[in-house]
């Protein structure tokens, strides 16, 4: 394969779990990116050069993520790699990226430590496009308190670092603001029946239920909670952001649900509408937050490569990526890359009533 030496194309590695437990999220991300790349190439590529994605499936497995990262960074002549979608696998892959000096961007590895080295310094070649868990968790706690909610129950995914990270940040901030955590319950990824824990929760005196988790489970939790008669406010993070949440939960149950996100289908925004239309056209379904982040990742990557100048190498691309002044504006909001390789962007809070997003507000984290 001499694709890399072909000066007409720019090769970009893609390292996601499109099979295994994270398949849903991985696939959405990849699809978003593919859509973006398709559009970019149709519009002439980057300075006339087409982007070529070298896709590989890491089976949602850490070892496989490392092996694929190695393969991409040593044999495929890529200028940067995208993914994985979850924090753990991203941490593993970033070690390879640093070793082989090829930058890596993850669209959705939210763990605070992803872009941090053992000694506390920032990873040289690792970036992310999403919030840190602590940032979102803190925002949610502040929002709940601002709404006058002081007694929270947390129902999280004990098998997910995302959920754990959110929980930790939320708890800290909530307590700091004089809120109390009334109870904590847990599920594990893939569960479909949540009634046992919900029955426990129902017996508690609380005013907000925080579900740090992804829409696949959250949708069912909300449905089962509302069926059991839990009518309190429900809070979630960007893992909620998917039409599937509403389908699974059922419109009648999705009331008083609030979640943080970068992007929302509810927003009045032409770019977002175009994206949704194009995505539906391409893949026959509604996009979720992963798809949106993947889509933005496509454009952000292209933007960075363009900024790298004529000599497109991993080094120049890395330089462009780490440029904290460059502003990027996409459907998940506009941001610049922070010094810590985490984007600086504003959080939006979406309110669902009767299954419809009725309100989207920008939220400033204090």
């Amino acid at each position: 394969d001499d694709g890399g030496s072909d000066s007409d194309t720019i090769r970009v590695g893609v390292n996601y779990g499109t099979t295994g437990p994270y398949a849903t999220y991985g696939t959405s991300s990849v699809e978003g990116t593919k859509l973006a790349v398709k559009e970019i190439n149709k519009n002439g590529g980057i300075n006339g050069k087409k982007i070529e994605l070298v896709e590989m499936d890491n089976k949602s497995d850490t070892n496989e993520a490392v092996n694929i990262a190695t393969k991409l960074t040593t044999e495929e002549d890529v200028v940067l790699t995208l993914g994985p979608e979850v924090s753990g696998n991203t941490k593993a892959a970033i070690s390879v990226a640093n070793k082989n000096k090829i930058p890596l961007i993850s669209p959705s590895a939210t763990d605070d430590k992803v872009t941090v080295n053992k000694d506390g310094s920032v990873t040289e070649y690792g970036y992310k496009m999403c919030f840190n868990d602590s940032y979102q968790g803190k925002a949610l706690a502040q929002y709940a308190i601002a709404q006058g909610k002081t007694k929270a129950v947390i129902y999280g995914d004990s098998s997910s670092d995302y959920s754990k990270g959110l929980t930790k940040a939320f708890e800290e901030e909530f307590k700091k603001q004089n809120g109390t955590i009334v109870a904590s319950e847990n599920y594990v990824e893939g569960d479909t029946d949540f009634n046992a824990a919900l029955t426990n929760i129902k017996g508690k005196d609380f005013d907000v239920l925080f579900i740090p988790g992804y829409y696949n489970e959250a949708g069912l939790i909300i449905k089962q909670a509302r069926t059991q008669g839990i009518n309190q406010m429900i809070l979630g993070a960007d893992g909620f952001d998917s039409p599937t949440l509403i389908e699974l939960g059922g419109t009648e149950n999705l009331k008083d649900v609030f979640f943080t996100t970068h992007f929302s289908i509810a927003e009045e925004n032409k770019d977002i509408d175009n994206f949704i239309a194009a995505y539906k056209d391409e893949f026959g379904k509604e996009p979720d937050a992963f798809a949106a982040l993947g889509y933005d990742l496509g454009y952000y990557m292209a933007d960075s490569i363009e900024r790298a100048g004529d000599d497109i190498t991993p080094e120049t691309v890395n330089k462009a990526l780490s440029d904290t002044k460059a502003k990027f504006s996409g459907i998940t909001g506009s941001f610049s890359m922070g010094k810590d390789h985490v984007p600086v962007k504003t959080i939006k809070i979406v309110e669902l009533q009767a299954g419809e997003p009725v309100n989207v507000v920008n939220f400033d984290v204090k």
Partner: protein, 295 residues
């Protein structure tokens, strides 16, 4: 008290789901001693067939019946094909070899489905109004009632078929000694195909009903319930049909009480610990007889 009853109902509800899948598991195991890891995936295929029936062909009560019939038929055929292609050549091989093959079949079904429909969750539309009953502070769904009823009905039916009918006796004879069974004039291949057809049809029915119950389906949905159902079958005494029912319900109730009264963090650990404890006390499962081999 009402919380206790609610948890009991929650447990029965999950348990009946495991039981329904475990029935087919135990049936196949009882006859050919194969841990058919693909059973959970046949259940998944059943759910998808049901999904396409309900969304494309008909809805309402008629839709449900149609979906059940078509899903059961499709899964029966699928089960028979799988047996012919993947398991039959391995009849005389070690059981662990067959288990690995079953694992291979399981991957194949899962990822072929992913290839065609993608990995995402889909919402299974309910063909009937899934009424929520509220009595006192206690709530439960119509679908739970249906699943429990169907499970009990199928258990009785299966038990009757296996214990009383000629085909059932042929199945048990084949299980005990295939060569001797042939000497009785039993068609071993046909009997095993029949077993797979029934077991897979059960999985198909389970797929439709459980898909409706949780109103969601996905290509990997079979893995966890499949594993839990297998555990349930062992718990009740593998190969014993009422054992599957009993094991499934027990696992469901234990899991729920563990989550409700111990810790949801440790619920699976509690289930496993109790499972091991019970197996140590009753090494052939709850309903299994501990027959010592006659020497």
């Amino acid at each position: 008290m009402s919380q206790f009853i609610q948890q009991l109902i929650n447990g029965l509800s999950i348990g009946s789901v495991f039981a329904l899948i475990a029935l087919g598991y135990t049936m196949v195991y009882g006859i050919i001693k194969l841990i058919n890891f693909a059973h959970g995936d046949i259940y998944m295929v059943g759910a998808f067939v049901g999904y396409f029936c309900i969304t494309r062909l008909a809805s309402g009560f008629f839709g449900l019946i149609l979906a059940l019939v078509i899903a059961m038929a499709a899964c029966a055929i699928l089960g028979v094909i799988i047996e012919k292609v993947a398991y039959k050549p391995l009849r005389n091989a070690s059981r662990i070899t067959a288990l690995i093959t079953a694992m291979g079949v399981s991957y194949f079904l899962q990822y072929t489905m992913v290839y065609f429909v993608g990995p995402s969750k889909r919402v299974m539309p309910a063909p009937f109004e899934n009424t929520v009953f509220k009595i006192g502070g206690i709530t439960f769904n119509l679908s739970t009632v249906i699943i429990i009823a169907v499970t009990i009905f199928l258990m009785l039916l299966l038990q009757y078929v296996v214990k009383r009918t000629k085909m059932g006796k042929a199945m048990r004879a084949v299980s005990a000694d295939p060569d001797a069974a042939r000497l009785m004039g039993i068609n071993v291949n046909q009997t095993i195909s029949f077993t797979f057809a029934i077991g897979s049809a059960l999985a198909g029915a389970a797929g439709v009903l459980i898909g409706i119950h949780y109103n969601s389906i996905e290509p990997l949905m079979g893995t966890i319930p499949g594993l839990k159902a297998f555990i349930a079958a062992v718990f009740g005494g593998i190969g014993i049909i009422p054992g599957a029912m009993f094991g499934g319900i027990s696992i469901g109730v234990i899991q729920t009480f563990a989550a409700g009264y111990i810790s949801s963090l440790w619920q699976d650990a509690v289930v496993y610990a109790l499972l091991i404890f019970i197996l140590v006390v009753k090494p052939s499962g709850l309903l299994g007889k501990n027959v010592k081999e006659k020497v």
